[in-house]
């Protein structure tokens, strides 16, 4: 499913050692910082042209904050994000404009991501009119082809969002994201709000579009099965850090980090006869306000050693150079 352009190109987006700390304040008037939430704490990954990079993890692991930094909603506290080799921090206003039209987003909930007062056609055309300065007629032509591309009828452009079902709304959101022919689309849980029979439709649509346009995806998801179906590369996040990263097949056939193993073991089987290696994690995710010393996972890890509570492991390549894991066991 990789396109011709995907072969051995350099990354279109590089996130390098990115951190995002949020201050925790107390007091109403004189807000005193009493601590920091390390939402993202040194994350590095690269998105290649025409490929899907997925970030998986449970709630609070920082995957959405990472996506927000890529979308320029949040500025990193430290580290850099590079778009085609150029650091976002050095951007001028023209660069921002170009970046914003080349990086688009599709969100989880199509009930809140579409303006209920705008007709669907207008929602999809708006980026064309403001960014591309197309004339109305040109934009309308483009609208027709976009609607067709996401599997909607042309006349449906005159409808309002409430007249559509969840799956159709997500198609509208995808059409809008596609309208500027972006290089990258950030997909934040794109199918988790949809019904089971509709999810497959949307996932297939996203994959077809990738094949046709060579667009890259940054997929944020918590469902491992979705991730396995959609992505080329996967990064597993835990408490603000990537703990394991590998090509999709490698990660699922040879998971190394105890947390990845536990996640796969906790994912529900596809058949009643499948027996998994039982790794029940005790306890819950620690608060990012007060992360444990050493490896953040050690209080829940069944293989924790003395060293794990002392020293923070670093992400380093395993035997397979494409497979990186951050654990003292390796």
């Amino acid at each position: 499913m990789t396109t011709a352009i995907a072969a051995a190109t350099e990354p279109i987006i590089s996130v390098e050692n990115c951190q995002k700390y949020f201050p925790v304040t107390s007091g109403l008037v004189l807000r005193k910082a009493i601590g920091q939430v390390k939402a993202v704490d040194g994350v590095t990954f690269h998105i290649k042209q025409g490929e899907t990079y997925s970030l998986v993890g449970e709630s609070g692991c920082g995957k959405t904050t990472t996506a927000k930094m890529v979308l320029l909603v949040e500025r990193p506290t430290a580290g850099s994000i590079k778009f085609r080799g150029k650091d976002l921090a050095t951007f001028r206003s023209d660069d921002y404009k170009e970046y914003r039209s080349s990086v688009q987003a599709v969100f989880q909930d199509p009930w809140s991501s579409l303006n209920p007062r705008m007709r669907v056609g207008h929602i999809i055309m708006e980026p064309l009119l403001t960014n591309k300065k197309l004339s109305r007629n040109e934009a309308k032509e483009r609208l027709a082809s976009l609607l067709q591309e996401v599997g909607l009828h042309q006349f449906q452009g005159d409808y309002y969002p409430h007249e559509f079902s969840g799956g159709q709304r997500q198609r509208i959101a995808i059409a809008r994201a596609l309208s500027l022919e972006p290089n990258v689309i950030v997909l934040d849980e794109p199918v988790s709000a949809l019904d089971v029979s509709i999810r497959a439709q949307i996932m297939n649509l996203l994959r077809d579009l990738q094949e046709r346009h060579g667009v890259s995806y940054l997929l944020i998801a918590h469902n491992l099965a979705t991730v396995r179906y959609m992505s080329h590369h996967v990064g597993v996040m835990y408490l603000g850090k990537i703990v394991e990263e590998a090509p999709t097949r490698e990660l699922f056939t040879n998971p190394m980090h105890p947390y990845t193993k536990a996640l796969i073991s906790a994912s529900l089987p596809s058949h009643p006869d499948i027996q998994r290696e039982d790794i029940v994690l005790s306890g819950e995710i620690p608060s990012p306000l007060n992360p444990p010393k050493g490896c953040a996972f050690h209080p829940r890890c069944p293989f924790a050693m003395d060293r794990c509570s002392q020293e923070m492991p670093v992400l380093k390549a395993a035997q397979n150079p494409e497979h990186a894991v951050s654990c003292h066991l390796f």
Binding site: S197, A200, L268, S270
Partner: protein, 325 residues
């Protein structure tokens, strides 16, 4: 799992309709199944398939006045719950029947401590008074594996994490030593590793108490992991009922088959997912004949004309489809 012979709960031809301005919405339309002691039944379906409304009908909690149970029987240990007065139902809920809902934040009262809410349920049982009751509440909290239950009993729901809150809901549910527990998407809002812990916990509780569980879910993974038998619902009707292995090995109804093929798989690589075209029908404008016919790749003339009767496919495996005749 120990299974008795007589069914604990029997639902016969249950019909729950909603009367709205635009017409009659047949949310549940002729659903029948039974549940044995210690058994786990999965009810699978998409939103709007009537699975939650089936649960609410059993509990006697159908939204009034729009919703009405217009036919059928719900037999709990032989007694028809639909004939009970609201006061009697109030007593049955929490004692014999109980339910865990999806979102623990909305099913717990934010202004009372969890201990308070537990004790409230415990008090329902006649004779459950006095000093011992707090100990009993602490015991329940430790049964659902809440660490330091003596301290946690004084906590408010907001002081707990989502997984812990759902455990409290579980403790309240089993407080009255019920016969039947209905879990309506009980783990959907939990994180993967927490969901796994919770499912494991429900299993243990079931083994301890011989509870019968109805799992209402859209997730075949939960069914595969937890259930003994499965009922698949589509547009208010039960389209297939089968033992879990039988269903996964030989799904008979085209909808079940299609739904299973459209779910991505963690265990193996799938090249292309099968997608069911179209969407579920609106319940007030159901097609005559089989409601799945417009989306069904096998549909033929008869499917559009009349609703298929139940066909026995295998041992205790039934499906409603003309193709199977």
């Amino acid at each position: 799992m120990a299974q008795g012979h007589a069914p604990v709960l029997e639902v016969q031809d249950l019909r729950t309709y909603f009367y709205t301005r635009t017409g009659v919405v047949k949310a549940v339309d002729g659903v029948s199944f039974s549940l044995k002691e210690g058994e786990t039944l999965g009810v699978v379906g998409e939103s709007g398939s009537g699975k939650s409304m089936t649960a609410l009908s059993i509990m006697g909690l159908v939204p009034q006045p729009a919703g009405k149970i217009v036919g059928g029987k719900v037999l709990l240990e032989g007694e028809d719950l639909l004939q009970k007065t609201p006061a009697e139902m109030q007593h049955i809920r929490g004692q014999k029947l109980c339910m865990i809902l999806q979102d623990p934040m909305t099913s717990l009262n934010p202004v009372y401590t969890v201990g308070n809410q537990l004790i409230e349920t415990l008090r329902l049982k006649p004779g459950n008074r006095g000093r011992g009751i707090k100990e009993r509440a602490i015991e329940l909290l430790s049964k659902v594996k809440i660490a330091a239950p003596e301290a946690r009993i004084g906590n408010y729901p907001h002081q707990m994490s989502g997984g812990m809150r759902q455990r409290v809901v579980g403790a309240i549910a089993i407080a009255g030593a019920p016969k039947v527990l209905i879990a309506d998407e009980a783990t959907t809002s939990l994180d993967a590793t927490i969901q796994y812990q919770y499912l494991q916990l429900l299993r243990e509780l079931q083994e301890d108490t011989g509870l019968s569980i109805i799992f209402i879910t859209h997730d075949f993974g939960i069914v595969a992991k937890m259930c003994d038998r499965v009922a698949v619902m589509y547009a208010g009707r039960l389209v297939e009922l089968a033992p879990v292995r039988e269903l996964f090995n030989k799904p008979a109804h085209p909808y079940t088959e299609a739904l299973m093929r459209s779910v991505p798989n963690v265990d193996e690589e799938v090249d292309h997912l099968y997608a069911i075209e179209g969407q579920p029908p609106a319940l007030d404008k159901l097609p005559t004949g089989c409601s799945f016919a417009p989306r069904c790749p096998y549909a033929f003339e008869r499917c559009v004309q009349e609703y298929p009767s139940s066909v026995t496919v295998g041992e205790s495996h039934y499906a409603h489809c003309w193709k199977l005749l």
